[in-house]
């Protein structure tokens, strides 16, 4: 497998930010009650992560080492506020549903983690791909969790009814504890499949 291909594909499974690195759990629990919010969150994170990786990679030779984290933070925070403003202007209803969670992308460890671990050492094009790959890995898990939660919780998928109307909806699936259990199960299944185990 070529290097660029690996950069994109690795985070989808073998090095998934949520299930393997266990980062970004907060938003994975919070915005996955239904597909619509989960997808907007995925798009928002993809935009922020690819742009922040690219920008930080472009600056990597000039950022003074002592203040690199603060600079990374400023770039990320600016991009997040930018995304939030655009959502408020063009997708007002969804932005109210996402409430604080778009703003909380700032504290999403995936964004800062990729800047520190990848963008600082690699050229812009590869950093862009790395950002995209990780965003897709994050999105894949969010979409799986949101699908399970929306179908179990409300009997719908992306707002369309998939279960008969008699289905009452499982309250646990719509609450954070339900998301915790589902994310836990996904982590367990995936690690069993790819045979990734923590050393004791």
């Amino acid at each position: 497998m070529s290097k660029t291909k690996a950069i994109i594909l690795d985070p989808l499974s073998d090095n998934n930010p949520i299930t393997i690195q266990v980062l970004g759990i907060c938003s994975a629990l919070a915005v996955t009650v239904k597909m619509e919010t989960a997808i907007v969150m995925c798009v928002a994170l993809t935009v922020v992560l690819t742009l922040s990786n690219t920008v930080i990679s472009l600056l990597r030779t000039v950022i003074p080492f002592q203040i690199r984290m603060i600079v990374e933070m400023s770039v990320i925070a600016s991009l997040v506020v930018l995304t939030d403003q655009v959502l408020k202007a063009y997708l007002y209803d969804i932005s109210t549903q996402l409430s604080v969670f778009v703003g909380l992308i700032i504290t999403n460890c995936i964004v800062m983690g990729r800047a520190e671990a990848f963008a600082l050492q690699n050229p812009p094009y590869l950093s862009f791909l790395d950002g995209l790959g990780n965003a897709l890995g994050y999105s894949a898990i969010l979409i799986i969790v949101a699908s399970i939660r929306e179908v179990l919780g409300s009997g719908t998928w992306y707002g369309m009814a998939v279960l008969p109307e008699a289905y009452m909806g499982n309250g646990l699936a719509t609450l954070a504890p339900g998301a915790f259990i589902i994310v836990g199960l996904i982590i367990w299944v995936q690690r069993t499949v790819i045979k990734k185990f923590e050393d004791s």
């Binding site: 950022i63 603060i70 770039v75 600016s78 930018l82 655009v86 408020k88 209803d93 409430s99």
Partner: protein, 242 residues
């Protein structure tokens, strides 16, 4: 100062300036659109309090901006009351109120819903402290100035999943039909912790269920609905009397 340090400070300054320029440019460019969205959302909440269906059960909008504006020109008119005397202030509209006047509630906007030249419903803004933020909403009363037509809470910064449940349909839908006034006096509106039946097994027509794990938000809502209703009641009393 060593050259390295100077570079660090210079770099930090450049980053700050560039970031703030980008952000202020975006904010300025998008402001009109955002304000329009916020105003439309506010108007839809007034309509919702008045008992108009503005969203379906999945939260999709049922009305276009034009339809909303039409309600505001055809059915809804507006007066502003003086808080200390409860009198209508001539030639004042809610758009002319300053932030302080709204915040301190020294002047009170009131929306009137007319059908065939008769006022049939009244709505007014309600707001007060929750746990983290000020909760904003609207409350509409029927012609008898006692029965609640509807309540909405739309702007707040409460904890998602806990206090933020106040703007969920299950909470807001409880208010329709509740009584805030009977036999010449205001009723002690109550948001009941653990649910109305736990305290009033025989039912209670001025009570709604509280929000589990959000007692401070629930109590905040109870307090500001009581005090806002009291503030407007000076004016309502004159209408009831006439």
């Amino acid at each position: 100062m060593p050259k390295d340090d100077r570079n660090v400070i210079l770099f930090a300054a450049i980053v700050c300036v560039v970031c703030s320029l980008v952000l202020s440019a975006t904010a300025a460019a998008l402001k009109t659109r955002q304000d329009d969205n916020a105003e439309l959302d506010r108007r839809m909440n007034v309509l919702q309090a008045f008992g108009i269906e503005v969203k379906d059960e999945k939260g999709r909008k049922l009305l276009s901006k034009e339809e909303v504006d039409e309600y505001f020109t055809v059915n809804i008119s507006e007066v502003v009351l003086k808080a200390d005397s409860g009198e209508v202030m001539p030639n004042v509209t809610s758009e002319g109120l300053t932030r302080t006047e709204i915040k301190e509630k020294s002047k009170l906007p009131l929306y009137l819903w007319s059908e065939n030249d008769e006022i049939v419903k009244y709505a007014f803004p309600i707001s007060g402290r929750g746990l983290w933020s000020t909760v904003h909403g609207y409350l509409a009363l029927d012609q008898d100035l006692a029965t609640v037509v509807g309540v909405t809470f739309y702007k707040h910064g409460e904890t998602p999943g806990l206090g933020a449940e106040c703007s969920e349909p299950w909470f807001m839908n409880q208010f329709g039909g509740k009584k805030l006034w009977a036999d010449g006096e205001l009723l002690p509106f109550e948001v009941v912790k653990n649910g109305v039946p736990s305290k009033y097994p025989d039912g209670c027509d001025y009570c709604v269920d509280g929000i589990t794990a959000a007692t401070i938000t629930s109590n905040g809502i109870m307090k500001f609905i009581r005090s806002d209703m009291k503030a407007y009641d000076q004016y309502f009393a004159t209408i009831r009397g006439s």
